[in-house]
């Protein structure tokens, strides 16, 4: 899972749409990630195709995306993997 995927899934724990989603990503990453709109929509398209996210509502003007159950499982798995990586890395701090 790429970093962009990870943060979009994370941000979509709360259903959201387009521009606000970018703000939400910036927020959950503590301002570290300013995702470009091209990347955002590229990843949204791909996640949707992989059924990791879904469109909650589409009133023609704006689409609201949300994470799916499958998405949550994938995110959780990735989270566990990252956590283990952090734990394994402890030796660096001595």
């Amino acid at each position: 899972m790429t970093e962009a995927m990870y943060y979009i899934l994370l941000a979509l724990m709360n259903p959201n749409h387009g521009y606000q989603l970018m703000a939400a990503i910036e927020q959950v990453s503590n301002g570290r990630i300013k995702m470009g709109p091209g990347t955002l929509y590229g990843v949204l398209t791909r996640l949707q195709k992989d059924n990791l996210i879904e469109i909650l509502s589409d009133d023609g003007r704006r689409k609201t995306y949300a994470i799916t159950e499958e998405g949550r499982v994938a995110l959780k798995t990735e989270y566990e993997r990252l956590k283990e990586m952090i734990q394994d890395g402890r030796i660096i701090e001595g």
Binding site: Y19, M22, G36, P37, G38, T39, Y41, G42, R61
Partner: protein, 402 residues
């Protein structure tokens, strides 16, 4: 609105970084991208402005919401060329880069990469079939040189070159996207200021060669058609490289025997002229006569001699020998007919075949090839000197005209 300026799209549309860089360079000269097609790119004349451009590959047309989001980030949609959507932003504005994750961008090109690879496979097969067909047309033909002269050889060869260019473009498309995808997946971002000059120059040179060739390929058949003509052989002197019946036959009772008349041409006494790049002068001329009061030796009917001449003036004299051999191969049908080569000072090659009243002469001199068929009583040995005269005279007349 400013004036619209058109420029050839000389580079590969898939060379994203180079095209973006080119658009920026144009904008800084006051030419702002308006529309992009496969062949032409349209710019609107205005004030020079530092502008950055981004090409985004979007499989699905972006929704208004998506365009709004791009816009809120500083990117204005300009135009699209196929699946490539082009956005621009002021160089000075603090916009978020369109793509912030090269690996994700690499993924987005995977589908395109696959499509171009399939294209390449299909066109490779088509190319192989096409080349195979072209080669077999000439390789398996018994008279390839005759086919070249009578057929569309030059046009076919040009077509091969044009096809090769198309093939080259498809290969180039695929390599460009494949390389781009690989480098993105390795985390390298697109160089938005990549030098575009060399690629455009090369593209320009190739297009400069290819387009006239393509045009030429289209025009040739029309020229051939326009130049070709059929008409009835005049009774008097026609300034043609042929022996007339009256020069061969001894009887003063010789009259013309007319045949089927269609399109105002007497097809028993007709001149067909054709033009071809390899043989700019081609004649096929028939003449039929009848001698009242005289019979064929076997008493089968009234004596009616005829002569057919096929004459070719070649662009390349080096083809004369092979064309003559092809003519012999094509027109001497009977296996037991003996073809005799004769050393004759006036010809580079002379061969004759004789089967009772059917007499055939094949000859070439420099770049003139001639084949004469005569049905009649007169002896072939008496016709040969006449033929030599005609060819030399025609050659001299042509030299005078030029």
């Amino acid at each position: 609105m400013g004036k619209i300026v058109k420029r050839l799209m000389l580079d590969d549309i898939y060379a994203i970084g180079r095209n973006e860089s080119w658009f920026s360079a144009m904008a800084s000269e006051g030419l702002h991208l308006k529309k992009s097609g496969r062949l032409f790119v349209y710019f609107e004349k205005g004030e020079p402005k530092k502008t950055k451009y981004r090409m985004d590959y979007l499989k699905e047309a972006p929704s208004q919401e998506q365009l709004d989001v791009y816009h809120d980030c500083g990117w204005n949609f300009i135009t699209n060329s196929g699946y490539f959507y082009i956005f621009s932003a002021d160089e000075k504005s603090c916009t978020t880069e369109l793509h912030t994750d090269p690996i994700e961008q690499g993924f987005s090109l995977s589908e395109l990469n696959k499509r171009l690879r399939n294209n390449l496979i299909i066109i490779s097969i088509a190319m192989l079939l096409f080349l195979g067909m072209m080669i077999s047309i000439y390789y398996f033909n018994d008279e390839p040189f005759l086919l070249m002269i009578k057929g569309q050889f030059v046009q076919q060869m040009l077509l091969v070159i044009v096809e090769l260019y198309v093939f080259y473009s498809v290969i180039r498309n695929y390599i460009t996207i494949h390389k781009l995808k690989q480098s993105l997946l390795q985390g390298a971002e697109i160089n938005h200021n990549e030098d575009y000059r060399k690629a455009r120059l090369l593209g320009g040179i190739l297009a400069g060669i290819y387009m006239p060739l393509a045009l030429f390929t289209i025009i040739i058949p029309f020229v051939e058609f326009a130049k070709s003509k059929d008409y009835t052989l005049p009774e008097g002197n026609a300034n043609l490289p042929i022996i007339r019946l009256e020069e061969i036959e001894k009887s003063s009772n010789l009259m013309r025997e007319t045949g089927y008349n269609g399109n105002n041409v007497d097809w028993a006494n007709r001149v067909s002229y054709d033009w071809n790049l390899l043989a700019p002068v081609q004649y096929e001329i028939d003449e039929h006569g009848v001698v009242r009061g005289e019979m064929w030796e076997d008493k089968s009917g009234v004596y009616s001699p005829s002569i057919t001449t096929r004459y070719y003036k070649l662009t390349f004299g080096s083809m004369a020998e092979n064309l003559t051999l092809d003519l012999i191969n094509r027109y001497v049908w009977r296996d037991n007919t003996e073809v005799k080569d004769i050393n004759h000072p006036k010809f580079d090659k002379l061969a004759i075949a004789q089967d009772d009243i059917h007499k055939q002469i094949f000859a070439y001199l420099d770049n003139q090839v001639v084949y004469v068929t005569y049905y009649g009583k007169e002896r072939i040995e008496e016709i040969i000197p006449l033929l030599a005269q005609k060819m030399i005279a025609y050659q001299e007349r042509m030299a005078e005209v030029q």
